[in-house]
């Protein structure tokens, strides 16, 4: 545009000629910037694709293997898509042990822990965040300290304790040690602390009882944080191998991860296809939960308070 204008005026005066040159330089720079932006865009997309590949490949490999025949899992070079989809592997995995019982146990324990944790951490974190009482700092300190004690240090006393209460090989024995969560209390306390005092005062003036303030006003406001914590907790206990292994001596309360591990031991050689099918059975519920709560989780990480 500028160039055209300059041409019609003519380069009679030095001033306009210089201006034209400057415009040229400017448009040149703009082109360069545009090109640079395009290159960066390509790099960005490539980088993201690379990341997706890194994370998705093991998963795709697992699905692929779970549908192969046993010899097919070991051929070289490996194939990504099996010749025939062997759905039988899933049935085989399911039949290596009492999988229905494993599955039910896993659900009962993970959900049981989740419910108990919600019942304990919401009031606890609300109290730590909102009430001034003697020793609150000290008590919160104790909660924080428990975060630093590794499970390996306490499993033996817990085992003896459960044994004394005859809780070994029971659902309750696997649920109770996780009835509360220091991490959850900490996370939720921070979330509650961000909510302005006036909101609670307004609710008090609205004649709301304390439990009503918590349930109807506070909890909905920290929902993204709560959902994130619930998801972390659910995944951790769904996948947990160590505690169920230690606290059970027979099949009555054993969970899926123990069952999957047992597939390896059934025959002399590791049947990778059955094993992978078992793993898929293990992760499928988590994937479902994750897809259901995805939006809430993303919200939790970009959460910037309520105006």
């Amino acid at each position: 545009m500028l160039k055209a204008v300059n041409r019609t005026i003519g380069s009679a005066s030095i001033g306009t000629a210089a201006e034209g040159k400057r415009a040229d330089v400017r448009s040149g720079k703009a082109v360069l910037r545009k090109a640079l932006r395009a290159v960066l865009q390509v790099i960005n997309v490539a980088g993201m694709l690379g990341l997706v590949l890194v994370f998705a490949m093991p998963f795709v490999w697992m699905i692929s293997t779970s549908l192969k025949t046993l010899p097919e899992t070991m051929i070289f070079p490996p194939v990504w898509i099996p010749e025939n989809f062997v759905w039988q592997n899933y049935a085989d995995a399911w039949n290596t042990g009492p999988f229905l019982s494993y599955f039910v146990n896993s659900v009962v324990i993970a959900v049981g822990i989740l419910i108990l944790q919600m019942l304990t951490i919401i009031p606890a974190s609300f109290a730590f965040a909102r009430y001034k009482f003697k020793g609150s700092g000290f008590l919160f300190g104790i909660v924080m300290v428990t975060l630093m004690i590794p499970a390996q240090l306490i499993f033996l006393p817990v085992y003896l304790e459960l044994s004394a209460f005859k809780l070994l090989n029971t659902h309750l024995g696997l649920i109770l040690p996780f009835a509360s969560s220091a991490f959850g209390i900490f996370l939720l306390r921070q979330a509650f602390m961000q909510i302005s005092d006036e909101l609670i005062e307004a609710a008090r003036l609205d004649q709301a009882a304390e439990w009503k303030i918590i349930v109807q006003i506070m909890v909905p406001m920290v929902k993204p944080v709560l959902v994130t914590f619930a998801l972390f907790s659910f995944i951790a206990h769904w996948n947990d191998y160590f505690w169920p292994l230690v606290m059970t001596t027979n099949e009555t309360a054993r969970t899926l991860p123990l069952g999957i591990a047992k597939i390896r031991d059934v025959e002399g050689v590791a049947t990778w296809n059955t094993l992978m099918a078992g793993n898929l059975i293990l992760v499928a519920p988590i994937l479902v939960v994750f897809f259901l709560s995805q939006r809430q989780i993303i919200k939790a990480f970009v959460y910037n308070g309520v105006k």
């Binding site: 302005s196 006036e198 909101l199 005062e201 307004a202 609710a203 008090r204 003036l205 609205d206 004649q207 709301a208 009882a209 009503k212 109807q216 006003i217 909905p220 406001m221 929902k223 309520v306 105006k307």
Partner: protein, 357 residues
């Protein structure tokens, strides 16, 4: 409808005394404004009436009941907060009816009340929206509706307009005045803005450092301040005051010690004729603010810097002016700032040489 009485109220935060021995009666059906600089204890006083803060000492009476031990929800008081404090996860309807639900009002009646109120404040089309999807003015209305729907004895408003822009603030100000007229309920309003206080209140309580300086009608407060603080706090610009020893050329016979002398900016005359009698000061005009109908001049004199306001008068172009303040418009204050209403007599003879630079 309710009268509120505060009797010997004190409030301490740890060792810090915010309010000491405060006595105040808020009249039934009045629009009472508590005004003062920030940190003067006005909000604390308000919160004690609402029950959100417990007084360290003294009694609070609403009508004929002492509410010292009544929780906030049971005092029949509704409050509008500065940041509105709307429940963000509830819809507008949910916000308005939350208090009714807690009182156990039946669904049918609740719906009717919400409908009536939202018509009054103009929220009917927004009832199902969340507060974050509303503008500032609409949020303000939700906060008002939430308070009104409970039909309380007392409305408490804590700087409700300070989050709005200037135009909306003026609009809401008149709306609030109309609302008060319509409801006839006692309104207690806190603000740090004396213009807001003067324009809205029919009873103004000026506070400073936890002490009531003066509680009076706006006009009384303006024309007859009790002390230096009130005089300097009320009015735009505020009253010009100077220490007595700086007031050169002012010839006074007094039976009491005078600490300060003051005058309202609009009562001073610039370059008045020779027949006008009064205290005369000469000075240079530093700045001119033209607000259309009125002009505000900042004048530097030997007695200090002061303001003069004129109405519908031609702009003074001269830099050097003579300012005359009629003697009857001079206010005298004692050494500790208390108003001196008698015992002072200014000399009525025209002074030959005064002030000037």
């Amino acid at each position: 409808m309710a009268k509120i009485e505060l009797k010997n109220i004190s409030k301490k935060f740890k060792d810090d005394t915010v309010i000491q021995n405060l006595n105040l009666t808020i009249k039934d059906g009045s629009f009472t404004v508590l005004v003062g600089p920030s940190g003067c204890g006005k909000s604390t006083t308000l919160r004690m009436v609402a029950g959100l803060e417990k007084q360290s000492d003294g009694e609070i009476w609403i009508d004929d009941t002492c509410v010292n031990d009544t929780p906030p929800g049971m005092r029949d008081v509704a409050m509008v907060f500065q940041n509105y404090a709307l429940y963000p996860t509830m819809s507008v309807r949910g916000n308005i009816e939350f208090g009714l639900k807690n009182r156990g009002v039946a669904r049918g009646e609740r719906d009717k009340l919400v409908k009536d109120i939202s018509e009054i404040v103009g929220l009917t089309p927004h009832l199902d929206k969340k507060p974050q999807n509303l503008s500032g003015g609409q949020r303000q209305r939700v906060a008002l509706a939430r308070a009104m729907v409970k039909q309380p004895k007392v409305f408490i408003l804590d700087e409700p307009l300070s989050n709005l822009d200037a135009k909306l603030r003026n609009q809401m100000r008149t709306e609030l005045i109309q609302l008060h007229k319509r409801l006839g309920t006692t309104f207690v309003y806190v603000t740090h803005d004396q213009v807001e206080a003067m324009s809205m209140g029919d009873e103004i309580v000026v506070m400073n450092k936890g002490v009531i300086q003066q509680a009076d009608s706006p006009m009384k407060l303006y024309h007859d301040p009790e002390n230096l603080f009130t005089a300097e706090f009320i009015g735009t610009p505020a009253m010009n005051t100077m220490q007595m020893r700086d007031a050169q050329g002012l010839d006074i016979q007094a039976s009491v010690g005078i600490g300060y002398v003051g005058f309202r900016p609009e009562q001073a005359l610039i370059n008045a004729g020779p027949d006008s009698e009064g205290y005369t000061v000469e000075g240079e005009i530093l700045t001119r603010e033209s607000l259309g109908a009125e002009q505000i001049y900042q004048i530097q004199s030997r007695s200090g810097v002061f303001f003069v306001k004129t109405f519908l008068a031609p702009v003074v172009t001269a830099d050097h002016v003579k300012v005359t303040i009629p003697y009857e418009h001079l206010y005298y204050f004692g050494l500790s700032g208390e108003r001196l209403r008698s015992g002072v007599q200014a000399n009525r003879k025209q002074l030959a040489t005064v002030g000037g630079i």
